[in-house]
Amino acid sequence: MSSLHLAIPPLPALMAQLFIGLINGAFYAMLSLGLAVIFGMLGIVNFTHGAQYMMGAFAAYLLLNFLGIGYWWSLLLAPIIVGAFGTVLERLFIRHLYRLDPLYGLLLTFGLALIVEGLFRQEWGSSGLPYSIPQELTGAHNLGFMFLPNYRAWVIVASAGICLATWFVIERTRLGSYLRAATENPTLVQAFGINVPRMITITYGFGVGLAALGGVMAAPIYQVSPLMGSNIIIVVFAVVVIGGMGSILGSIVSGFVLGLIEGLTKVFYPEASSTAIFVIMAIVLLVKPAGLFGRELG
């Protein structure tokens, strides 16, 4: 019916749409950040990331319904629980793959994701479970050009804060420098008396925790559903590829920017909104194969 909307909407309407794009970008940024940390530090293409994001949302749901623990504590507890699950995975399976081609890591994590999602679907079905917005963040503000739900405003602020903090820790602190050194030359760093395998396990757990945190933040907006991860993971991978595999800054910037671009396609050509990001990915790969912020190898 409505194909290309050639008429440009009035400025306030456009502003509102850009804002919405930014909110989605916040989710993309938070998820692609975790992926970038894991790939940058471990060289593992973590395809379980979507499943771990979903587990974060489920952890929040289960904490609320079985233990009466609300949203705010879930923001802390769910990443710890799911992150701990991640470290177990790392110790049991993933650590055996570091010396192999990244393809093996991809296959393993993809298989794990299918198993985890299958188990959740078996137990809770596909249509999702309700999770309410925390009392403190219900309601909305009229910004003049749009009606901004308080919860969405919180998502932008929180996500930007988390992204900046992560970037700071990895790029600007001593701990971060150890990490980066350990990935460049693990033997040498080990010689300085640093427990490299443990550091790597913690890094993986941290990346997984970021995914779970994203899941908790998504729970009140989307349905808490076993499918929520697989719906978003492909987009997030495209974001990481566009930003440059393993680039922390690249994943953050491209997450937000692609959210904006996707928001615009939803106004001008909604039918293509689910494809726009992949078109951009193809173009970026043609022009700059290492991604916008990636370092060319060799």
Binding site: S2, A13, G21, S126, S127, M146, L227, N231
Partner: protein
């Protein structure tokens, strides 16, 4: 023998041959195989999926496990909401596995592809989950049976009810495939016929997570009613996020044009309360529906949707027709299905029309408030019964080539 006698004799011989032919078209001796084709893993899996398989198995078991002397077998597969995948499965089912009938098939785009194939192969297609009214319109088939509901009925149920309440301007948020387009078209027709106006629409790719952008467009249109021409997880996300953006609080109303009980369950009553919806069945409607639904719930732990209940009814009627006609030949079984009245726990005196439409009453429900809900899954109160002849498209308006007009 003169020419006249010769002609008469050959005519008689032809008659004998034809008669023998029809007498020979009895049971082929192979088991009756029923293929449940559904979305087993994605956004429609809870409205059909494993529940539909369970319903088909219940029907086979309740029938005694055999029909006309042969065993009944139920097989199932996941079409992943992709027409090409669904078509390939059905092709294999018929050519290699000897499947006699395909049932359910939510996702109209897949159902339309399967309908073509079943027509070509002369096999019975029992449609429960799919909605597009084109399945009995321009895409009708002599062996296609649209059992439970369709977009025309949804439009004339929910759509008409909203217009009656004063909702004369509409904006549609539409799932961008066959079903969404059919539902929008059928509802827009109801709206404009009643003197209302459609102010705009937006086509959203299937299985979309974030609807805020589209909801804002709907909000800015200032339409009194925002028609959700989507289903399953897409409807749930639209309704949930509409609450967040203050759409209903701002005076606009949501019309969930296709809402299943699985959606209400997923949304929870605090979000879903007040929604008006059209269904062919609600588990807590009569003693009969309760008895059947309780058996279903023992197995599936969730109340059956109308699509799943319809699978049971359709399979049962199909088996009855095989027993009555003593044949498993597709077109002949469907002919018998037309002769027999349809009576089961959810259908009273239903009939199967020449275009494949099952004529049944539909019901307009409203979702209860949390305070009104007294026990588990106590979700709906009934607002009205829509008699079959008002719920479904009259034959005089049919685009189905099988309908003789005159």
């Amino acid at each position: 023998m003169n020419r006249k006698q010769l002609a008469a004799a050959s005519l008689a011989a032809l008659g004998v041959a034809l008669g023998a032919g029809s007498a020979a078209a009895q049971m082929s001796g192979k088991p009756i195989k029923i293929g449940v084709l559904s979305d087993m893993s994605s956004l429609y899996a809870d409205l059909g999926g494993p529940g539909s398989v369970a319903a088909a198995q219940m029907a086979a078991k309740d029938f005694g496990g055999t029909v006309a002397g042969v065993p009944i077998q139920v097989v199932s597969a996941d079409h992943q909401n992709k027409p090409d995948v669904g078509k390939a499965i059905v092709q294999r089912w018929i050519d290699e596995d000897g499947v006699d009938a395909v049932v359910d098939v939510p996702t109209s785009s897949v159902a339309l592809a399967v309908q073509d194939l079943m027509k070509e192969k002369g096999k019975v297609f029992l449609i429960s989950g799919a909605a597009s009214s084109d399945l009995t319109g321009k895409a009708c088939s002599p062996t296609g049976v649209h059992w439970t509901y369709d977009t025309y009925a949804l439009a004339h149920g929910t759509g008409a009810a909203m217009v009656k309440q004063g909702g004369d301007t509409w904006f549609f948020i539409t799932a961008d495939y066959a079903f969404g387009h059919a539902l929008q078209r059928d509802t827009a027709e109801v709206v404009t016929k009643a003197g209302g106006k459609v102010l705009g629409s937006v086509d959203v790719p299937l299985n979309n997570a974030d609807f805020s952008s589209f909801l804002l467009q709907a909000q800015q249109s200032k339409a009194k009613i925002i028609g959700l021409a989507n289903a399953g997880g897409d409807t749930d996300n639209s309704i949930k996020q509409a609450a967040e953006f203050g759409i209903v609080a701002g005076g606009q109303k949501l019309a969930g044009l296709l809402v299943f009980i699985s959606d209400v369950n997923a949304l929870g009553l605090p979000v879903a309360q007040g929604l008006v919806l059209t269904e062919a069945f609600y588990w807590d409607q009569t003693d009969e529906t309760r008895t059947w639904s309780k058996r279903f719930m023992e197995q599936m732990k969730k109340p059956p949707t109308m699509a799943q209940a319809g699978v049971y009814g359709a399979v049962t009627h199909y088996l009855k027709a095989i027993a009555a006609a003593n044949t498993d030949d597709g077109p002949k079984v469907v002919a018998k299905m037309r002769e027999l009245p349809i009576n089961d726990f959810m259908t009273k005196n239903g009939t199967l029309r020449e275009d494949g439409r099952v004529m049944r009453d539909m019901y307009l429900f409203q979702v209860k408030t949390p305070a009104e809900s007294k026990y588990a899954f106590d979700y709906y109160k009934q607002l009205a019964t829509i008699p079959a002849d008002q719920a479904f498209r009259p034959l005089s308006e049919s685009e189905c080539p099988l309908v003789k007009k005159g």
